[in-house]
Symmetry: C2
Subunit: 405 residues, 2 copies
């Protein structure tokens, strides 16, 4: 090519242009500006709990007796993976340490599952609304998100087999579920999980199952893991994380789990390329496995009580509706506004009540089509009840002021 | 699609099939087996130094005064980025904290640079041999690695402008360099850096410059960063890491740095999708910035003396040749064997000398074509001289035994 000069455009990539901004963080600049103006912002937008990390977990790094903070194995420390086997056994999930791959958060586990299993153009079916970053990871891999719609009116329960089959094409490679669900708080029933199993089996699909909230289930409905489903053992890739369980989101330790050896070998290539998951996070995660039962019970009770408090409070505000989430610590809420994204931004840029305001995640960012969920927001109940109470007052006042404009 | 049943093949993705195994880690299973058999393995294959992490860095986690290990900002802690500005200023690189994005190791920085700048089918030119994981990240993005060849005979210096221009096509989007170089230890001269600058400018390419070894330069030749080059400020994306500098590879803290605002905004979308870099690693990295000058000098002297010791020792073994690396802590070595990969495996599976053996990274894994570098290995001088001396004896004995077979 030396004879004819080639001038290339220095553009950002097609995928970067396609990448949506995170609905959870896209309003961050407005929140920062509000804070600089002295306004207290209640963060209902992000799943960053105010629950203390277990003492034994933090003590593990305080007592670290290493003098080199070296690489760990690409698959993660064997001692950590061995302890995890016990944790999963307590949920009736039978694993060996080899079947567990430690990742930099659940995020990397999703990314590697997609990278290993989905070629460009391949399709993965999610239930709308869905955790928005699945879209980002799909775009990163050139994969395509298709969706079956769940709605606030029917409490976000699973659509029929027919609705799934309408979306299945020769390019369909996987179904991705989040159970208990972020953003809806829905928990799939046994019947619904069997329905998913049957579709997965019939069309020979991967089932990516994000179950990072399994420790937070507030209903008597039993928890059915994708790993409990018989006959699709090789189809299932479990996505997990210790972030929420032990309130240690910042350590970035997740797991990718599968009985499918070919998938594990493929995932390990991506693991080796990034060398290793964080060492200190693994030390914390391993120590977290010793967390006293009392801590877990207290945290559970706290979330349950926050959920009840928030949902009651929301449904008492005129025009506001939230179903009662069965798990996780989020709820999708319908607001009496035309455009919840505008309202969320306005709360940060143009509103305050007694020096306070709220940050919420606009609902449309959790749907495949930006036309869906326009009057919805996702709220996380990760603040204490005192703050949740104040946030509810601010929301009520904000809606009044916004609708009087 | 409900009427005709679609059966899909559950295969791993095309990219996973293309992904090479890491040449640094692919023989790990043989090394594990050797260790189980009671053989001591000298690891010359991986850049995991035995140098102690600075005391102040480990003290920072020992003294952690947080009770929630929460998410950090997607871009990384501002306090860390602010301190990094001072570090770069000491190398004549003028930055603001906004221009620094904290990543999960230098690996994630390369991945995000490719993700943000390279569309599927786009080409990036590297100098052969190159850090093998660049290939893994390119495959992850659907980008294509093209190469210009450097050779052990000419000490791995930069090929001519004409050699680069032969590789430039309308799909060429970037040149990627590693300086000082892993795996060769080469340091580009001012003239070579100006040559790169001129090509980048003429064809309007991105210049991805991996400079994680800048603190380890053993020659009077001045260090020229890509960030020192005038007129291509918007083209440069600097890849960096604290891993090697402070012997803290396991904390997984790197940086992606660019003056190009569009690239930063694109990269931030990928950062937001993975939520945040590791919190504990950032605490360690920030404390590492206070490492006493004496530590850095001692470590430098240690590597310099190891380099001299290893290169002298290698060149005294009959048939072995290594150029003298100017920086980093690797060298590409020519061995008197037909197939270095077979020899490396054999050292682990079929050889021991007084209960010891060596693990090396086969050279061919660092070239775009597996036919290149067949008689080369990459060695890291990250062991103390006592161990390096023993490893040299083992290598000499292994070569004798292998060639007598």
């Amino acid at each position: 090519m030396a004879d004819t000069q080639t001038i290339n455009d220095m553009e950002i990539s097609e995928r970067a242009q396609l990448m949506p901004s995170s609905p959870i963080r896209k309003l961050a600049k407005y929140a920062d500006a509000a804070k600089r103006n002295g306004i207290h912002v209640y963060h209902l937008n992000i799943g960053q709990p105010d629950i203390k990390t277990p003492e034994c977990a933090i003590e593990a790094v305080r007592n670290i007796d290493r003098d080199i903070l070296e690489y760990s194995p690409s698959q993660g420390l064997l001692s950590l993976r061995t302890k995890m086997v016990g944790y999963y056994a307590s949920y009736g999930i039978d694993l060996s340490p080899d079947e567990i791959i430690v990742t930099s958060g659940g995020s990397e586990a999703v990314m590697f599952a997609y990278m290993a299993c989905l070629s460009p153009g391949d399709e993965v079916i999610v239930t709308d609304p869905f955790y928005a970053n699945y879209m980002a990871f799909a775009i990163s891999c050139g994969a395509i998100i298709k969706s079956v719609k769940t709605t606030i009116e029917n409490g976000f329960r699973l659509p029929s087999v027919e609705e799934f089959e309408k979306q299945i094409t020769p390019k369909t490679k996987a179904i991705m579920i989040c159970n208990p669900n972020n953003p809806t708080g829905y928990l799939y029933s046994k019947q619904e999980m069997f329905q998913i199993r049957d579709i997965v089996k019939k069309y020979n699909l991967y089932l990516f199952s994000d179950e990072v909230y399994r420790d937070f289930i507030y209903t008597k409905r039993p928890y059915i893991s994708a790993c409990h489903l018989e006959g699709i053992e090789d189809n299932v890739v479990l996505i997990d994380s210790v972030s929420k369980r032990y309130s240690e989101c910042g350590i970035r330790i997740g797991t990718l789990i599968t009985k499918n050896k070919a998938v594990r070998e493929a995932v390990m290539k991506f693991c080796q390329a990034r060398l290793s998951p964080p060492l200190l996070g693994q030390i914390v995660a391993e120590a977290s496995m010793q967390t006293p039962a009392q801590y877990m019970e207290d945290v559970y009770d706290e979330y349950l009580s926050r959920r009840n408090f928030l949902i009651d409070g929301l449904n008492q505000i005129p025009g506001v509706y939230s179903p009662t989430p069965m798990g996780a610590f989020y709820t999708m809420v319908r607001l009496p506004v035309d455009d919840a994204e505008k309202f969320c931004a306005w709360c940060l840029t143009d509103f305050q009540y007694e020096g306070q305001t709220i940050m919420m995640a606009p609902g449309s960012g959790f749907y495949t089509s930006p036309e869906e969920g326009r009057d919805e927001v996702r709220l996380a109940y990760i603040l204490n009840k005192d703050d949740l109470g104040k946030a509810l007052i601010v929301l009520r006042k904000a809606l009044e002021a916004y609708n009087e404009k």
